[in-house]
Symmetry: C2
DNA sequence: CAGTATCCAAAAAGATACTG
DNA sequence: CAGTATCTTTTTGGATACTG
């Protein structure tokens, strides 16, 4: 750290503003909501998994992307990486307490979306009916 | 439409699996959690806004990105677009009921992250201390 | 097994200009 | 004002190969 006199960002205070660019929590929120972040956390929700198992679980993710995502989530303290000793290597990933509490909220969100899919599909159909495919 | 005999994806049933590629809810979840989706929804949380006001609120977003994001969210039924008549144009965007309920969950998530930022910053510092910057 | 390294293709972000 | 069009630059994604 050292006295960085950043005019600084979002007071974690009453009104919160992740909306501000430069807010320190914004990149963190992006890690957990981003393309693979959310799915990776949800993939670990039911218990620890090893790299390949997790990769199979998060359908469609590339090794590279999974590695990157896990690194970011580990750095932010959402995921704990436990490298077992021995060979061949067995590394387990598990949610930290912070990761678990966060994932619970993420799950609530995903579950809500899932339950309201009928409305979403209806909205999409209506939209497509009234909007030109692409002139 | 038309009888697509998709072997199809994620039963909205008991165990849910957004994790599956091809799951219809996955792209929707991505729209609301994606790079700008979340911030745009949060930007509308306190009330309807017009395009430029929203753009100012979601700090750093480009016109193009905002237009795209709003289109996706409108199509999914999270946002309602209300084009006022007259000139110059005044278009208002507001959350639908579905958008509002979803955004409430998103807010809970963002708020949780915000409140735990001290832990996140500590984790990041610890990580950076023990991991080589880049050899 | 658990990754890293590479290379290429595809997509997204940015900046600028222009229209109803 | 509310966008679209266009072009350029960066980031991603995907496939393949290789190492401890």
């Amino acid at each position: 750290m050292s006295a960085t006199s950043t005019p600084n960002p979002c007071p974690s205070a009453p009104r919160f503003e992740v909306l501000a660019r430069g807010c320190v929590s914004r990149p963190v929120l992006e890690h957990i909501t981003g393309r693979w972040g959310a799915l990776t956390l949800l993939g670990l929700r039911e218990g620890p998994l090893r790299f390949s198992a997790l990769r199979r679980r998060v359908d469609g993710i590339a090794e590279k992307a999974l590695a990157q995502t896990l690194r970011a989530l580990e750095r932010d303290g959402f995921v704990h990486r436990d490298p077992g000793e021995g060979y061949p290597s067995r590394v387990e990933y598990r949610l930290t307490e912070l990761g678990a509490s966060t994932t619970a909220l993420l799950y609530a969100l995903a579950d809500h979306v899932e339950s309201r899919m009928p409305d979403v599909l209806a909205a999409q159909a209506a939209y497509d009916r009234t909007h030109p495919p692409r002139p």
